[in-house]
């Protein structure tokens, strides 16, 4: 059996069983199954939103067929277990690209919809769900419902964490690209204000994102590398998106390998690695979008206890106060935080009732799991985010409180009306204690 864990390898959960769903012409009779069910494909959600402790998992990784591709209009229909890597392998040579890609290509279409994922072009394109034109949902009543964006059930399913039924297939609108390259620019910035200044130029570029050194303090707080780019033709070979990584972390590293010292050295090296403050290059799209896919099972570096990723969004404030406060809290806490990713979300409205992205600054930080110290810090950060009127991303979460969840997602009551009662997850039971 495959290991059915989440990407952060925390928390542990044991499903009561796993039912593979392989053929859309033979959907499982969900109503007859014991207990609750939840779809599982790639397991790239970080926390417990893809886990169903004590319940059944519906493994859709073999529900992986393409159905239809209109090459003139750029409309693709495929089953829910198809990975974004498979789609890119097919469409990029034909001049089409996914409208939104996250930081890994190993996510399924069903997962991309259920988490209403975003990418480096959120400021222009919004979320993945905004480009889905149709999807078919299998409900536990046995009904199969084809939903379009004007359905309330569609709005509940996009970003709905897999709780409205089993997505069987979806139709996605792709976008034209001039080639498989990215013309990119990397700019070193010295502090948080310098980042905010750079972010004002975001609209001129399709993709923008910044890496920030979370361990830098004082004057250097918020220093980092800003990356921006646009699609471009590419001379020379393009790495295939479906080829597995050449490097792999073979086993769990000793707990504590990633500590303040090692991460500090890494961050310093990463910050300094770039000669000069600006660099331009045309690179293949795979390493630009998916640098961490280059090493398989890299999360093993965090050791057996796993890690937590914390991603929040806070509305813009003059001077970026909430983001500054969050960086200060992290830096003061002494928790070893590694790579942090900072980006400005645009004002494109997310279609989902529980979609996470909204206008403002979003920050994602990895923390090795060190028990109550880590959890205490993240509760502090939640308070800052709530105060600022922001939200924390369920796809990355393993610990937020029910009260925080309610505060972050005002669409929750409308969502709950559409939820399929047969579907549940460890996450849902944790944040929706009723």
């Amino acid at each position: 059996m495959r290991p059915y864990r989440s990407w952060g390898r925390y928390p542990d959960a044991t499903p009561s069983g796993v039912l593979p769903v392989v053929w859309r012409s033979e959907p499982p009779e969900l109503g007859r199954l014991p207990g609750t069910v939840l779809a599982y494909a790639c397991g790239r959600s970080y926390g417990d939103s893809c886990l169903n402790d004590g319940g059944l998992l519906l493994d859709v990784s073999r529900l992986d067929r393409l159905m239809e591709f209109d090459e003139d209009r750029g409309v693709l229909r495929c089953e829910a277990g198809v990975t974004l890597a498979e789609i890119l392998a097919l469409t990029v040579p034909r001049g089409w690209f996914l409208p939104v890609v996250p930081g890994t290509r190993w996510v399924s279409v069903g997962g991309a919809i259920a988490n209403d994922i975003h990418g480096k072009n959120h400021h222009r394109a919004g979320t993945f769900g905004g480009h889905v034109t149709r999807l078919e949902l299998l409900r536990s009543t046995g009904e199969r419902i084809v939903c379009t964006p004007d359905h309330e059930l569609f709005r509940a399913t996009v970003g709905g964490l897999g709780l409205t039924g089993l997505i069987l297939w979806a139709e996605i609108r792709l976008k034209r690209i001039p080639g498989p390259g990215i013309a990119m620019e990397r700019i070193r910035f010295a502090d948080l204000q310098a980042f905010f200044d750079l972010a004002t130029e975001d609209q001129a570029f399709e993709y923008t994102v910044a890496w920030v050194d979370c361990l830098a303090r004082g004057r250097r707080l918020g220093r980092g590398i800003y990356m921006r780019g646009d699609h471009s033709p590419l001379d020379g070979p393009t790495p295939s998106p479906v080829r597995p990584a050449r490097l792999r972390v073979p086993a769990d590293a000793p707990t504590g390998l990633l500590n303040r010292l090692t991460l500090g050295l890494f961050n310093e090296a990463y910050y300094r690695a770039q000669f000069g403050s600006r660099r331009r290059a045309v690179v293949p799209y795979v390493p630009f979008f998916f640098p961490l896919d280059g090493v398989d099972d890299w999360t093993r570096l965090y050791g057996r206890r796993g890690f937590l990723q914390y991603q929040c969004v806070v509305p813009d404030a003059p001077g970026g106060d909430p983001i500054r406060t969050i960086f200060e809290r992290i830096s003061r806490s002494g928790e070893p935080a590694s790579l942090a990713v900072l980006k400005r979300f645009g004002d494109v409205r997310s279609p989902g009732l529980l979609s996470f992205p909204r206008e403002g600054m979003t920050l994602a930080v990895d923390f090795a799991f060190r028990g109550s110290r880590t959890l205490g810090l993240l509760d502090d950060l939640d308070a800052v985010v709530r105060e600022a009127g922001g939200a924390v991303y369920p796809a990355k979460d393993a610990r937020m409180s029910p009260a925080s969840f309610r505060a972050f997602f005002p669409g929750l009551e409308r969502f709950a009306l559409q939820r399929d009662p047969k579907f549940s997850s460890s996450f849902w039971r944790r944040v929706h204690a009723s």
Binding site: P20, S25, R62, R65, L66
Partner: protein, 250 residues
Amino acid sequence: MPPDSSSRVLIIGATSAIAAETARAYAAHGARLFLTGRNGGRLEAVAADLRVRGATTVDTAVLDVTDHRQCQEAVEAAWAALGGLDVAFVAHGVLPDQARCQGSVAETVAALDVNFTSVIALLTPLANRFEAARHGCIAVITSVAGDRGRQSNYVYGAAKGGLDRFLQGLRNRLYHAGVAVVTLKPGFVDTPMTAGLKRGPLFATARRAGRAVHRAIERRRDVAYVPWFWRPIMWLIRALPEFVFKRLRL
């Protein structure tokens, strides 16, 4: 790899995981495909996937391989639809429950029928047509389980081992007509057929197995282990003397 954009390929049991992945490799090269399978709904899903992936044409026919007349008709239909064949790939099979077979003649015979007799029912008309055309390749999935009988799996092993011998003879016969016969021996592959087995480090993904099969067929290999590392493993297993082997619990 030689270009196979004009390849006309018949795949029997095309909805099996390994065959569907092999078909994807052919589709990516623009091949013309004729697929058969037991279940029409599944067959259509696989066919649509292959069309999107670049297959020039995909025809399908529902086929119950235990009906030998249907086997003959399917071969004729594929030959007519594609105007001849370059590759015939026979990939269907079932993994029977050894314990149940031991208690049931009917179960054992049914397993032998699907895994051995039905394949012969297909290979006989295929061989005659390929021999007359003096061109092409017949590829058949057997199994590492056919290399030596083991107490846990010998009904399946016997069918696959028998098939192995049949293919040896056929290869010898068709060699003189310029037709290749490829024996494909997968080890453990992570597919619905093996869902009941415990996963271990020797398991390969269906994707990897399918690509290896495509490569072996295109290179007209005589006997290919899938993945390759089963060749030395099975060499060792075959090399054990019987007086030792019979004592093992395998």
